[in-house]
């Protein structure tokens, strides 16, 4: 187990260094000078030069790469070129929205998907199953931004129960902040739940067809008891895999929902930073996200080992 963790840690480091090099090179070759972006069309060459000097862009690329990486490793993420505040502060602000949002969405989608999957599998090829499959199909087919707009139309504009978007900040109290996250969390969770419910259903069905289930039934366990005691645990492996992927997606891939609800989340920060050529912010976030994804995969691997004792003895 320790060996397993160490190997994973090594993978994490290699991934981070590779990600940092790739993102640095990509941002270098991307056309668009940050100084020109900030000073616009009327800026004179000497003004641009003064700004480049202020931003440290006048130094050679390898030097900038090393300085940035050294800062990153020691926890100094640098100063955002556009906002002129520490990047760590920016990211912390955004994570205070994206983190709870992703968590709420994943909890909600799991809470919807697992019972539905179980229900459908238990009523395989009956009306309930068909209903769940139809929900799954609908959830996959409906784009989440459209669903988000629909939620706004019903709950904000017509009923006036919840704000149409924006985020008042946690300092304004937990109540308003939570209210601001309800609709986006639902909009994010439902499509995810649709995917997860389908995966759960087929994983449970697959496990139910296994020999050990027949043996368990032969030993006299009821269908329900076999399902709870044997099937569910085995079926959890593909489900946990999908949940891991979904959580990674929710951290940065929720840009569309953040736009619909104009939430200042991490996804929008990356998007904005790319379009304003705030190089340092893009680099920091990409590397952090790469690290997070590797870390989530690591947690998923650990969960495999917890769920399936056979994987522990293999000493992966």
């Amino acid at each position: 187990m320790i060996q397993f963790c160490l190997r994973r840690l090594a993978t994490l480091c290699v991934t981070l260094i590779a990600a940092s090099a790739v993102v640095f090179v990509v941002m270098e070759v991307l056309p668009g000078d940050p100084a020109v972006v900030m000073l616009g069309t009327e800026a004179q060459p000497e003004t641009l030069a003064a700004l480049r000097k202020q931003l440290g862009l006048d130094r050679p690329a390898p030097e900038r790469y090393v300085t940035w990486l050294a800062g990153f490793v020691t926890g100094d993420l640098g100063l955002s070129q556009t906002y002129r505040v520490p990047v760590s502060e920016l990211i912390a602000d955004r994570l205070a929205i994206t983190g709870p949002l992703a968590l709420a969405a994943i909890v909600l989608s799991t809470a919807i998907a697992l019972p539905l999957g179980l229900f459908a599998a238990a009523r395989h090829r009956r009306l309930g199953d068909a209903g769940v499959m139809a929900f799954g199909q609908l959830g996959l087919a409906v784009p989440n931004f459209w669903f988000g707009l629909l939620l706004v139309l019903v709950f904000s504009i017509s009923l006036g129960w919840l704000p149409a978007g924006g985020f008042p900040g946690w300092q304004g109290g937990i109540g308003p902040a939570m209210r601001a996250l309800i609709l986006p969390a639902v909009a994010l969770a439902l499509p995810q739940a649709a995917i997860l419910a389908r995966v759960a259903r087929s994983a449970i069905l697959d496990a139910m067809a296994e020999d050990y289930v027949r043996t368990a039934r032969a030993k006299g366990l009821t269908r329900r008891a076999a399902l709870w005691r044997h099937v569910l645990r085995n079926a959890m492996i593909p489900i946990v895999t999908i949940m891991g992927l979904q959580f990674s997606f929710l951290l940065a891939g929720a840009i569309i929902i953040e736009n619909v609800f104009y939430l200042p989340g991490l996804g929008r920060l990356v998007f904005q930073a790319i379009s304003q050529r705030d190089l340092i912010v893009v680099k920091d976030i990409v590397v952090l996200l790469a690290g997070t994804v590797v870390f989530i995969n690591f947690v998923v691997d650990l969960l495999y080992a917890v769920l399936d004792p056979r994987l522990r003895s293999f000493r992966t």
Binding site: L30, P31, G32, D33, P34, V36, V37, M38, L39, G40, T41, E42, A43, Q44, E46, T47, A50, L51, K53, Q54, T82, Y83, R84, V85, L90, D93, R94, L149, V152, L153, S156, I157, G160, P163, A164, G165, G166, F167, P168, G169, N259, V260, F261, Y262, L263, P264, G265, R268, L269, Q272, I274, S275, Q276, R277
Partner: protein
């Protein structure tokens, strides 16, 4: 239990009636783009001015809602007969938000800082004519010029020339300190900037609002939702023209279609063959039907223009009739220039909402006369670097939002690549002309000259589509300068 419930109901009812009776004194105002920071002397983004201009910072002069020069921190001024010196009398009793008294030393500091070699002022040209700033006493400033500048007082009204204090200038990007009626409260990055009334403002009785919140919503349909849900009181420049009818039909809102200083043009690279042939450029102008471009790009809102000049300006000359929509004439001109079968070229479009929409329609119209325009959508930084700086383009569509910017046609290195000594001479004469009437006549001449040369295809003046609560008044209808001046805004009830 029942008693408790009725108590709660009573409490809510009381709170409700109290809210209904009290005059509303807060404003939530929507903007499409969040400012990168709040220092207009160190960045070109219009969004910086849309939060801070007139609200947080003030200059010696200011531009009012009609585009006229008004006294700002200078209550009066005199110009030397030769136009080489301005003497400003500063307002007394003015304080910065941190409590510091405003004086002539702050003016000198501000201008010296903008002129310095390490200055990052995006409009450094405003200060280029200044020979020196003198401060005879705390309430007098004398600005000496190297040569007369007709628009000098107007230029000092730009957001880039607002007055900073030496104590706070360095931190104004994140903690703005000005002399304006509203002081900075907090910035929830990505969401909103909040301002509160400054109690020591020199003209505080004229300010009706207590708090103003600027909220940033990029997605046009989200802008509409926020207005309809009541999260916002106003969206002075709405990005969704197709939704205006729905607001017009609703009594709770007021829809105000004004104009900006944005001349939206189909810019032409005049240095590239065959576009360097004036007959080809005229053919392009005849091939484009401005009306259908405006209908398609901005739901019919927007004034057609025939030159690079704002229809709001007194010197405006209507030149939309110089090259009327006439595909047959366009084809004839192309044949005359040696391209009877047309040709292909690139159209590189920036991501501003009007550009791709207008681009599709213009490309379809050019195809009618045999010109195949290959559309390429690019990001704003790429546009600025490759199209604007390096001139790597044939055609592009962009709105030139600076006020009174016809002088860009006098710059040889500008991205149009238009070189005309007679025009340069004309602009130099305008710059040095101090008489308004004569200057306006010369501006008319300048408009005709670039229209005749068909430097670009002039499409339309970008409108300002404002939607706000019907009970709200005092916001600007037009946008003669990039600003959301809320100093005169108030609730009618």
């Amino acid at each position: 239990m029942k008693g408790l419930r009725s108590l709660v109901v009573l409490g809510v009812a009381l709170a409700w009636s109290h809210a209904a009776v009290a005059q509303k004194d807060t404003l939530a105002l929507g903007m499409s783009v969040e400012p990168p920071h709040l220092d207009p002397t160190g960045g070109a983004a219009g969004s910086i001015r849309e939060v801070t201009y007139a609200n947080v910072y003030e200059g010696l002069t200011r531009i009012d809602r009609n585009g006229r020069v008004q006294p700002g921190l200078a209550e009066s001024w005199t110009r030397a007969d030769d136009g080489l010196a301005y003497t400003f009398r500063l307002r007394g009793g003015v304080k910065f938000h941190d409590g510091k008294d405003f004086s002539s030393a702050d003016v000198k500091f501000t201008f010296d800082r903008a002129m310095a070699s390490d200055s990052t002022n995006a409009q450094k040209w405003i200060f280029a004519p200044i020979a020196g700033v003198e401060t005879p006493d705390a309430r007098s400033v004398v600005i000496k010029l190297k040569y007369p500048v007709g628009n000098f007082l107007y230029n000092l009204g730009w957001g880039d020339a607002v007055i900073f204090a030496p104590e706070s200038a360095a931190n104004n990007k994140t903690n703005p300190v000005g002399t304006g009626p509203f002081k900075f409260e907090r910035w929830v990055r990505g969401d909103r900037v909040e301002l509160a009334k400054f109690d020591q403002y020199w003209n505080k009785d004229a300010i009706k609002l207590k708090r103003v919140s600027f909220r940033f919503i990029q997605d046009p349909s989200a802008q509409v939702s926020a207005l309809r849900a009541g999260d916002l009181d106003a969206f002075p420049s709405l990005g969704a023209p197709e939704t205006l009818d729905q607001f017009k039909a609703d009594k709770r809102y007021r829809v105000v279609v004004g104009a900006t200083e944005g001349e939206t043009i189909l810019a032409i690279n005049n240095t590239k063959s065959p576009l360097n042939d004036v007959r080809v450029r005229r053919a392009l102008a005849h091939a484009v039907d401005r009306k259908s471009v405006i209908d398609g790009a901005w739901s019919g809102y927007g004034t057609p223009i025939g030159s690079h000049f704002s229809p709001l300006h007194p010197a405006y000359v209507d030149l939309t009739g110089v090259y009327p929509y006439d595909p047959a004439k366009a084809k004839a001109l192309l044949s005359e220039a040696g391209y009877p079968n047309g040709f292909a070229l690139s159209m590189r479009l920036p991501p501003f909402p009007y550009a791709p929409r207008a681009g599709e329609i213009v490309a379809a119209q050019l195809a009618q006369v045999g010109i195949k325009a290959n559309i390429e959508l690019i990001q704003a930084p790429q546009w600025l670097t490759q199209v604007f700086r390096e001139r790597q383009y044939d055609l592009t569509i962009v709105s030139h939002t600076e006020p009174l910017d016809i002088n860009i046609y006098a710059r040889d290195d500008y991205y149009f690549g238009y070189v005309n000594p007679a025009f340069k001479d004309l602009i130099a004469r305008i710059d040095r002309t101090l008489d308004d009437g004569e200057r306006n006549r010369l501006y008319g001449e300048a408009q005709r000259m670039i229209a005749t040369d068909s430097v670009n295809v002039f499409l339309f003046q970008l409108p300002k589509l404002g939607v706000w609560n019907a009970d709200l008044d005092g916001l600007w209808e037009n946008s003669p300068i990039q600003a959301n001046d809320v100093t005169q805004a108030y609730w009618k009830r």
